[in-house]
Amino acid sequence: MNVGGEARKRLVVVGHGPAGHRLVEALRERDVTGAWRITVVGEEPRPAYDRVALTSHLTEGADLALPAHGPEVTVHTGDPAVEIDRTARTVTTASGRRVGYDALVLATGSSPFVPPVPGRDLPGVFVYRTIDDLDALREHCAARPGAGGVVIGGGLLGLEAARALQGLGVDAHVVEVAPWLMPRQLDEGGGAMLRRHIEALGLRVRTGTPVAALEAGEDGAVARVRLGDGSALEARVVVFSAGIRPRDELARRCGLPVGERGGVVVDAACRTADPAVFAIGECALIGGRVYGLVGPCLSMAEAVADQLLAEAGGSSGNARFEGADTSTKLKLMGVDVASFGDPFADREEGTLSVTYTDPVDGVYTKLVVSDDARTLLGGVLVGDASAYPTLRACVGSALPDSPGQTLFGGVGPAGGDLPDATVICNCNNVTAETIRRSIRDEGLTDVGGVKSCTRAGASCGSCVPLVKRLLDAELVAAGIEVDKALCEHFDHSRAELFDIVRVRRITTFTQLISEHGRGRGCDICKPAVASILASLGNGHILDGEQAALQDTNDHFLANLQKNGTYSVVPRIPGGEITPEKLIVIGEVARDFGLYTKITGGQRIDLFGARVEQLPQIWKRLVDAGFESGHAYGKALRTVKSCVGSTWCRYGVQDSVALAIRLELRYRGLRAPHKLKAAVSGCARECAEAQSKDFGIIATEKGWNLYVAGNGGMRPRHADLFASDLDEETLVRYIDRFLMFYIRTADRLQRTASWLEGLDGGIDYLREVIIEDRLGICAELDAAMERHVASYSDEWRDTLEDPDKLRRFVSFVNAPDVPDPSIVFETERDQIKPVLRTGPQREVLSR
């Protein structure tokens, strides 16, 4: 279906906050025919930004902008809608702009509630909602260093605001009218424990006290907050954070039903009484409630995107907002705080609650269970929320153990923590629930079984580690001993095999499997052992028997693409490249007819090479001074860098030089999974080092080292490992970190999940690497020195070895005939693969 310009339907979105933004993105992503033409009008002077991270704008100057929508979406900022004409189906804005619609979505959000106390309009009184609010607050505080300040409201946002004030040099009080902090999420015990933590951070807290008035000083600005008990707090700055009110004034004015306490009334499809008008996010009253958490607001946006696609014939339109889990977990000023299920369920009859208070460690835990102590109803965690994922997943179902055992027996295995609705396999749309059910119902015990039964992991395979975790968790829950075995050929884990190979100095797969395994291996154990042999420095990966172990990428030293061709990535250390070398890459791509794309790791990927072309391509590249970039290996990929102090006005260290040094040091290092790294030359972090396996950020005094970050499917921010290191110490720590990971991680386990599974976590890692707790640092250092000394370019070595070159042919009996199945067409002036037959599973099915 191709919808012409005239036939396109018009969508108008009023409000450009996170919900409005998500709606537009969700629609754009799935509206492949361009059925909807989208116009957004927003009140704020800037496009949508990440409001949840608002405080980081204040404290770190973070750029919160959400991704721009692309040119086909019209966004009018700083021009609020003022009138809706539902008969004519138009929206009029403050500037007089009139936009017609076929569908209208209200995403106007909420405004902070400011209680009607005298003095609330005085200069120096703020709310905490928008970037403009925060900028004004910062400016005000900057002019009054050391002043006292009061935050009115001790909820989530209020505490965040108080901490931000403290960061601005304000001596801050928090005043909460309820008897304890965070009364909506926490019970009294939890609130009390949180208060201890908060006060330990130097904030002062008053609870159970209403505010009577704000009083002005001689300059006419606010100077004091008078409390209900008559006492007063000095306050040159006041922030109201006492809840939100839905922005429903537009809806009211055009006659749409609103709730008694505000909010545009919508059904489960987020549709108002007018079928052409929807409301989503904090302005919507859905199922009788207004949601102030971002998760439910985004779910509403997705549900409406689905309705709109249905109207254009692109979806079933079945998506509904099913209500939301309002469980929350956050780190508030470094303190873990979580509540899940119904934390106040113990106020009901027929429930039991089990609480644990440890004032020494500052931990408070409450579990509420049904009166047979079986079903978990809800709970509160303060000070230590490590059990949150498991507990949250258990809400409404049976606890795996007694409440006491659950509290003190430690959390369940990772994998049990993924909510049922989580989509594990995006390719085949398989949820955690489906996988768990099939494991239970079909009695599956291995990943292969899960694959063939649910199709999870059967396509791109990137979710297989997650599937394995779910499987392990299910098996543990079922009382079945979890098999750490790599596959059916070895009873050992990868880490155990690594030690066997290292200690017994085994150099071939045949020796390893005949002495320690069975059968002849498979596509799981062979590449894993190949990687172990390579990590321990056993020559070229295509030497002798090792060649037969390699996955096709390693075997052809290039990356297999969907049509059977390969892509080639030369190393560009640190992303720095001369014009001459850029020209060579361009010439090679042109001469071999390759598709070129810049990678995320600051390199250039050349696609569409046939097997027999690879050596010719390498020859040209190697002659020009390039070498293999190991894009095909479970190995170090790149060390990305920002431009650093050489050019950048803000840079404090030479990030490019360090990135090049590190990339050249670790190039070719084989690991359980690919390794990515980055170096940023200042705290602005342009190289995104915190999303890498190891990332380095320059400081005035040296380098901060971050480890175990991850982009990809399950993003994880790296943990700060050590600060202000000199370069030699930094390199030594990275050496040890990498070698320790290579020795002990599972197959295909990235550093992020490796660290998460490491007993003792980052603290333990520091003990191993910095304090040499295991006494292995000398060994790790020596192993890395061996790697550095033995590095050699795999492309060049292959070009120099006629035996290896013989493998690069299309057909063994017709080496001059190119594979006739490889066909390209042209798109945007470059080649694009065409699969002439396409996947044929259905044709062959019986």
Partner: protein, 126 residues
């Protein structure tokens, strides 16, 4: 397109119709536990030599991806079954029957293959 292949018609024992054997390569051209692709009368065939010296020939077409890549898969065993895993999405096939062990609805066509006394490898076209 016709590949430059040498064909030697002969009659298989116990079979009525004439089948054509095609010379493919020397036995020593095949690496143990690795495959190669061959073009037999315009059909792409994946040829494998396992660790015990056996030869197998399957269609080189991977039905799960639509690409001709089976010859580049990793060989191994599942239980007693000699196998190859597609390098694309890793489905595992029985080298003897072509049957997919991860999806019973799928099977790859197989080809007859033999090693001659002169240590040449030959594949039969159907």
């Amino acid at each position: 397109m016709t590949a430059d292949v040498q064909t030697r018609p002969s009659t298989a024992v116990g079979q009525r119709s004439t089948i054509r054997w095609h010379d493919v390569c020397a036995y020593s051209d095949l690496l143990p536990e690795r495959g190669v692709a061959a073009l037999i009368e315009d059909v792409q065939v994946a040829i494998f030599r396992t660790f015990d010296g056996e030869l197998y020939a399957l269609s080189n077409f991977d039905p799960f991806s639509g690409a001709y890549v089976i010859s580049r898969g990793i060989l191994g065993t599942r239980g007693d079954v000699p196998t190859v895993a597609s390098p694309m999405y890793k489905q595992v096939f029985d080298l003897r029957t072509g049957r997919c062990l991860d999806d019973p609805r799928v099977a790859l066509p197989t080809f007859r293959i033999r090693r001659t006394p002169q240590d040449r490898v030959e594949v039969a076209s159907a």
